[in-house]
Symmetry: C2
Subunit: 266 residues, 2 copies
């Protein structure tokens, strides 16, 4: 692992639940020696990627990230393009919808919306990275990703997230083959025991898959007939988003072109 | 300069006007050899800080930045805290208002708002970094920053941005001393020939200055009496923002506590 990767990896230890991290904890999390970690933290801090609390000496993510995220969005406004589609989808289906982008070997959430119409709702943490093998977004992406990524992900030991996470590569390969036919993935309780979700790939210029869009429903509201209609709305939304991200109609899987039925009244 | 800094510096070459950069151009911009630059770009790309266009091979900023910016904002919601204050200020004064955070030796914009009430308005690029010596935000920050930062900035050759940029350290020192008394900085045409602006420091926990808030007005609308009232509104907004960022009342400069007058009808 290169020096740059080691330093950038330190940034990934932050999450919604862990917004401040001290030197000792970084040493523990990274498994590297204190002097090296301290040198990396100092360089990240000098470049605005971290900032240090004046009293506690703990680090948090720095303001450089806000600026760079804004610069990316100004040149390639994925978030601005996806927001209305994700919001429209969640309104249509009355459930949590989200979109995420491939980052390394996982998906990073960029937009989520939940109309909160029901007594229970899926808890979605936008700061949490989605593992490819354990989420419907991930399977939708893997079905249309290049072989290198798919093989890299499936040849490694696969993490368990619930009692229903599928960690057998052969089973996942069969599921991914199915998703390639339909354009839509489905998983039940694989990342969160109580959640059923469907995913669809997002394509950009050149037909390249760059992320996924999903609908996540509390298990208590999942019913095959309703799920089928939700899936059609999801495919329609992923189609619209992909075209605005620069994909051509012929890049999209066949199901994306089928008409969308109306949701039955609940 | 360390390896990590060299790599992170490559990210700073992106701007609103330059959202894609190829290898050759990176080599030119950084002044470093091609093999090193390519190695750094590859590591940044593998970590999601860059992504490469499949055909043109040009790089753009990557999705990891969106996630890290969201994680920072979840733990330390500066943008969410500043947005209503900046928007309220711009509505009150009918002019462009913005807030920026210290990043290294410059300010990074995080929020701007412009009610667009007038025939001319200040062009504000949220992706552009604000140099400390040439902007009212920068002078407001320097007046309350620690000596080390002030001396580092003032002891270096200072960049000219217009014919009115002040690059003489002694003059800047006197201006900064004045700002320390009043709490509000003023500059005319120093960063953009046609713009007059006022800045106020933003404080956080422990009374530490972390950024600045400004109002920028086209020169044609600048009048001493109106500017004075704008400055009072600015101080009031910076006071409110600082308190919500964790500063205590006694950390703030005296002018921040003066009452705000009403703007006269235009």
């Amino acid at each position: 692992m290169g020096t740059i990767t080691k330093a950038l990896e330190l940034l990934t230890f932050f999450s919604s639940n862990q917004s401040q991290i001290g030197l000792t904890q970084f040493v523990k999390l990274s498994g590297r020696d204190k002097a090296t970690v301290h040198r990396h933290l100092t360089e990240l801090e000098q470049n605005g990627f971290l900032e240090q609390h004046p009293e506690s000496r703990a680090y948090r993510l720095g303001p450089a990230l806000l600026r760079l995220a804004a610069v990316r969005e100004a040149g390639f406004p994925v978030r601005a393009l996806l927001r209305p589609v994700v919001e429209g989808l969640s309104e249509q289906v009355g459930e949590l919808a989200h979109a995420s982008l491939l980052q390394g070997d996982a998906l990073s959430p960029v937009i989520h919306a939940d109309p909160r119409l029901h007594g229970t709702q899926v808890h979605f943490d936008p700061a949490e990275v989605l593992p490819l093998h354990a989420t419907s977004s991930g399977l939708a992406l893997l079905a249309f990703a290049d072989n290198a990524l798919r093989e890299r992900v499936l040849s490694r030991p696969l993490s368990m997230h619930t009692g229903h996470t599928i960690t057998d590569a052969a089973t996942l390969r069969r599921m991914i083959d199915d998703v390639r036919q339909t354009g839509i993935s489905q998983l039940s309780g694989a990342f969160d025991e109580e959640v059923v979700s469907q995913g669809a790939p997002l394509f950009a210029e050149g037909g390249r898959v760059i992320g996924a869009m999903s609908i996540a429903v509390p298990r208590v509201r999942a019913r095959p007939d309703r799920d089928a209609i939700l899936g059609r709305h999801l495919a329609e939304a992923a189609r619209k988003a992909s075209l605005s991200l620069g994909a051509e109609v012929q890049d999209l899987p066949p199901l994306f072109h089928a008409p969308v039925s109306k949701l039955p009244a609940d």
